[in-house]
Symmetry: C2
């Protein structure tokens, strides 16, 4: 019977995990590399807000936080597309009443830490992991380096320390056959701001995720409670239009005015921000195994870092916690069995959402500007209305159907996409898309 | 104009590369982590022999070594299949007169080092790389650690230090967006020996690569000049039949007698060897970029470690050297251009042979025992005889067609395999495979 649990990382997933575990009576200590964000200012320009959707909400519900978090988040009912020619279009994410939530990463994290501490979790800040030695059950932190070794025995360690996890590195270094991949896409990102209007209002439609799709790159914007929007430019590092090329204020100005004319009018400080805010990279990390017997497990980004284009990074990490919690019940606290099944269940789902997230970049930056794609979405939405169980669009499976596994959503999505490819190739589909003929073709293919 | 070149690693690829470069007048220094194998005994039990095929030979030809190496290698004209029921079958690798060559890794490496030194290459042994600092152009080795820093400037560095390349690690650590994957297959390997018969002869047919295909695993054997065969068991680490399970001499004996009854009779010492020789793992490494401007490049396994099932690891590394050498001519020693095109050309080929090698494991361990697969090979061989330019079996493209790129071989092979899948599904194919009807189907598909 285990009593003590150590979590590396007090980010979103580490904090939520600590709540889940302390609720079950474990003594939980969390070690965080950074300072306490509740006392120090967060650095600007790095993924300020996030899209919380049903998987994340379900996991928060179990610890009684969902309603409170919904109160401090902003519903986004669909994509608001800003085309280059000045036209715009709104694409609902799902059915009437379905939406995702723009929420501040900092606020959410601080709330989770508060709740964790209320429940007796001990969080230590400025503690950078330097070593985990499984054979001797010793964890070391940099702060202890020159002191007599204050190492301690622990029953179970979780690595919840993100994409560049120090816990994972220790795991890897003490493993003979560790499968590992890190893949950086060719694009990086930079955050910019749209402030409130002069009369203190949101400068654009608030209940939407705004996208300026420009084929190889895009600008997006999410609303914040303070009536600003945080914009993110996803942009190639190198090439014709790239961060490398935009090296002077003049180049930035000329490019933005040409490419995002309507957005530029709303961003008075974008040129300054462009050179002040960091350019960040986007990595997918896959690895295996995630666990060591009943002693260690990776969770969240540390196990499966993904790119942000499906808005599922946090949601997937929260789901890890929920699934793990259910397995604690199922296996009656037998941690050997719990961790083994956790890994068996979550590894294919982590792989699937990683691939889905990569694919969604193409969809967002390129296809959302394509009328044919919009028609396809309309046909799928109609099918979903009429046959809610038979046809669930891939986006809805991932975002609004927390009981469909990511791996299942990927598979069903690919099957549906193959059908839709054929449907979209039907002559005159633009005119007859609401006809029974089209519907019949789809249903027949579905049942074959 | 560069003058000095440093190569990390004096293995097969590092040594051959040093010959190529010193022939062009560069001052080449090679640093090798291990001792000088010409003076010390190599450790037993780790990939003693290799299959040298046309790509490797072409690269050796250019430095005048092909004929000499062929003299100390043993031709293998095909696969000699040992079935579980005691039956056997011979599958030629290609056309009459086409074969691959069993050659001793040690002998080949020593010959390459001798030739390199004759040409003025300086090889330093027991020099373990500890750091490459590109911004200051400093290389450090562990031997220098406690001495005043004997660092030196160098014009160009090659990392030719294998799958677990220390040079690659330095490259990675000083790179913000390095794509990297290491993937271990579930099987490891162990080497065993078939000694000569009591009258000093080869115990089996000498001019073949012997395979005991057993679905999830296999034993293979390659001939050596001393009339022994080196056997390699490719076997799961865990599971029903696995290294984990064979933990006692009794278990090994019972398993081998049941699974490889004919081989057991030829291996008097296999039980002892099983516990003395190491169990090694098999990794695929892919990474990008391979180069840093005109200062650094990875080559051979350091750039693209692959599993051994296509017998192409060394051949691919040698081909890297040949292609690089041709680019030196093309770009008139402009190393920025040379390295850039080297990477552009070789990265897709390294990826392709990595995937081909993984796929070939299934073919060797499983399909070679399947009569349907043997028939498919016969049909393809017949096509190749009749239409040598139109249809080249995938194995022949990789092994006997050094001017077809690996990436092209992978693509053409997949296309041909799709055709053959349909052909093999034709009713009565077993009887009519030599009919014009079958040929017509294939040719029509090929031309469509």
């Amino acid at each position: 019977m285990k009593e003590n649990i150590t979590i590396i990382g007090a980010g979103l997933v580490g904090s939520l995990l600590s709540i889940y575990l302390s609720k079950r009576g474990y003594k939980v200590k969390v070690y965080e590399r950074r300072g306490d964000m509740r006392k120090e200012k967060m650095s600007a320009g790095r993924s300020i807000n996030l899209a919380l959707s049903d998987r994340g909400l379900l996991a928060l519900e179990k610890v009684g936080l969902a309603e409170e978090i919904k109160k401090i988040s902003i519903p986004m009912h669909g994509r608001y597309i800003h085309n280059l020619d000045g036209s715009s279009a709104f694409q609902p994410y799902g059915k009437e009443g379905q939406y995702i939530n723009s929420v501040s990463r900092g606020t959410l994290n601080m709330k989770l830490m508060d709740l964790a501490e209320e429940q007796g979790v001990e969080i230590y800040f400025n503690e950078k992991l330097s070593k985990i030695d499984w054979s001797n059950e010793v964890i070391e932190f940099e702060s202890n380096k020159n002191k007599p070794l204050p190492s301690f025995k622990t029953d179970l360690i979780f690595g919840a320390d993100g994409a560049f996890s120090a816990a994972r590195l220790q795991h890897q270094l003490q493993h003979g056959k560790f499968n590992y991949s890190q893949y950086y896409i060719d694009c990086g990102y930079k955050e910019l701001t749209i402030p409130p209007t002069s009369d203190g209002e949101f400068a654009m439609q608030v209940n939407a995720l705004h996208i300026w799709p420009r084929k190889d790159y895009m600008l997006i914007a999410l609303p914040n409670l303070d009536k600003t929007f945080t914009c993110t430019l996803f942009f190639p590092f190198e090439g014709e239009a790239s961060f490398e090329k935009l090296s002077t204020p003049e180049a930035v100005k000329s490019f933005f005015e040409r490419t995002f004319p309507d957005a530029v009018k709303l961003m008075p400080d974008y040129i300054n921000e462009f050179f002040t805010n960091p350019t960040s990279s986007l990595v997918t990390v896959k690895c295996f195994p995630w666990i060591r017997g009943d002693k260690f497990a990776l969770i969240g980004d540390a196990a499966h870092a993904i790119v942000p284009f499906f808005g599922q990074g946090m949601n997937c990490g929260f789901e890890d916690c929920r699934v793990l919690d259910e397995l604690i019940d199922k296996h009656k606290q037998d941690w050997g069995k719990i961790l083994k099944e956790y890994q068996t269940l979550r590894k294919p789902d982590g792989d699937a959402i990683a691939d889905l997230a990569i694919n969604n970049f193409t969809e967002m930056r390129d296809k959302t500007a394509d009328p044919k794609f919009l028609l396809q979405k309309k046909i799928e939405a109609r099918l979903h209305e009429k046959y809610p169980d038979k046809w669930i669009p891939a986006y809805s499976q991932v975002t609004f159907s927390p009981h469909i596994r990511y791996s299942e959503a990927l598979k069903r999505g690919q099957m549906q996409e193959a059908i839709m490819q054929d449907v979209m190739a039907m002559p005159g589909i633009e005119e007859k898309w609401e006809n029974v003929e089209v519907e019949d073709v789809i249903l027949r293919r579905l049942n074959s």
